[in-house]
Amino acid sequence: MGQTIVEKIFAAHRRDTPTPENIILDLDVVMCHEITTPIAITDLEARGMDRVFDPDKIKAVIDHVTPAKDSKTATQGKILRDWARRHNIRDFFDIGRNGVCHALFPEKGFIRPGYTVIMGDSHTCTHGAFGAFAAGVGTTDLEVGILKGVCSFRLPRTIRVEITGELSAGVYAKDVILNIIKEITVNGATDRVLEFGGPVVDAMSMEARMTLCNMAIEAGATCGICLPDQTTAEYLWPFIKDNYATVDQAVEDFNQWHSDPDAVYEQVLRFDVSSLVPQVTYGFKPDEVKDITAMEGVPVDQIYIGSCTNGRIEDLREAARVLAGRKISDQVRGVLSPATPGVYSQALEEGIIKIFQDAGFCVTNPTCGACLGMSTGVLAEGEICASTTNRNFNGRMGKGGIVHLMSPLSAAAAAVAGKITDPRPMLA
């Protein structure tokens, strides 16, 4: 019987099977940030277990609130920084080199096909874009990961999501995943893996695949995953060129992490995206999604472009297509947080930062900040934000604030119009 990619990864990393339903996996990468890791560190210290299983397999970044906004966040950064130094964790990204974890770590080439990855952050599923099994975990799982290099999971069931057709102009990976979550619902994929495939995914860049996998958790999935291919190998090439003679050879090697043709899926869902229009959320759950045309005219107070979902260079380029030569409405304020220093530099080089600034956007340093209502763009009670992030939960971006999730293009259009609007006419 054939295996899915995740079944293959699990078989290759199996440390133990304490019951037929559970598996303990060896981990290739344990990623840490300053919100969920410091408590793990202080707990390990208190237990006399201040050790790490392998400093080279641990990656750490200060990204959620940076630069620190107060003494408490400064302390969180200090605990992480001191710990990284103490244990010779070389891949620690402090202020100046830091960015949103799920954008920064892929840029650094840390994630490879077939890897097992955990982080104390639910959007760790993003890294499935590389053909890795990547899952968000809590602090205790993180502690055990740091200490022992293992994590427990239930054996996965996989839902294959086959995406066919052709995306029309102005419709992106964000619209596709919002539409998929609407169909699957917020818990339709709980304890499942979402394996994304089909011609639309094959044609997607790594950035777009990351957007797709990033929101798998919003359907309850343990992880999202794409099969590694030529696009994956080309993205990773600067980091793997010493391991393979050619990109083609890397692609051939990556084929070991493809689901077999006779792999058994719990379910196969098919989405033809040819007639898909830009999508937007309403309400307080990410499966409450409508066509943007049905939300036309809803006024907004703030536009936020950034995050691990949509703060990458392609996202900025798309938004800039609408913003170039235009001003944002005087009824709104715009905040751009490029996801990493690399994205920021690239956007500067391409003149994109100037387009945002000329349009009236504030450009912040790379940080998670406003997405979860911690800093750099928190909403006031009753305010509405058009956001490229991943969660429209009650209070997510600030107590009493309301969030509408959408693509960077749709967010840029909302900035110009001062209200939610179909971005496609602005592309003309």
């Binding site: 440390r15 133990d16 304490p18 019951t19 339903e21 559970n22 303990i24 919100i35 969920t36 410091p38 408590i39 202080t42 707990d43 237990r47 277990m49 959620h64 609130v65 107060d70 408490k72 966040t73 302390t75 969180q76 605990i79 104390g120 952050d121 639910s122 760790t124 968000g136 975990v137 809590g138 602090t139 205790t140 799982d141 502690e143 055990v144 200490l147 022992k148 293992v150 427990s152 239930r154 917020v186 818990n187 709980t190 304890d191 958790i217 309850g220 343990t222 307080f284 759950k285 979860l372 209502g373 911690m374 969660r391 939960f393 009650n394 209070g395 997510r396 107590k399």
Partner: protein, 171 residues
């Protein structure tokens, strides 16, 4: 191992997320006890008052997909420091459920019909949990008994007082 059971708090909504259980702005606290006043602060549920309604409660009863969203274990800790030891729901989000067992706490799934029965018992409801027998007895104006099933590995974690203790012994 912790003791399980006690007076129930009913949260009649599905998809209660961890941002509602503990908003992100409190994730800068560096001890679990500091989280205590903020439990369920942003819960969208009409008539709910966290300080009043959490008092003397040890068990939360809710609907489907409890604990969805962010992976923050703070959502489990804020229950722990408020003396909540068990959450009973129709279903859980994976990470929250694992965080409960990892902390040696109980997440129990019952069918939608059983959850309805619990919601309809009337009066103040007290819940006894017999972990060894996988049974729950609930007493309100009416009384009801339920069997539940627990994954054997998760049971071991609860019995060990959490995943760190278990992992340190085995790996």
């Amino acid at each position: 191992m912790k003791q399980f059971g006690g007076q129930a708090l009913f949260l009649d909504r599905s998809d209660i997320n961890t941002d509602e259980i503990i908003p992100a702005k409190y994730l800068t606290e560096n001890t679990k006890m500091d989280l205590k006043p903020y439990a369920l602060e942003d819960l969208k549920l009409s008539g709910f008052n966290p300080a009043r309604d959490l008092e003397n409660k040890s068990v939360i009863v809710s609907r489907a997909n409890f604990g969805c969203g962010s992976s923050r274990e703070h959502a489990v800790w804020v229950f722990e420091v408020n003396e909540i030891n068990t959450v009973i729901a129709e279903s859980f989000a994976r990470i929250f459920r694992q965080n409960m067992y990892n902390c040696g706490m109980l997440a129990i799934e019952l069918s939608a019909a059983d959850i309805d029965t619990l919601f309809n018992l009337g009066g103040d409801v007290t819940i006894e949990v017999d972990l060894a027998e996988s049974k729950i007895k609930a007493r309100g104006k009416q009384t009801a008994e339920f069997s539940f099933s627990l994954n054997e590995f998760d049971r071991k974690l609860v019995e060990a007082g959490g995943w760190l203790n278990y992992a340190d012994l085995h790996y």
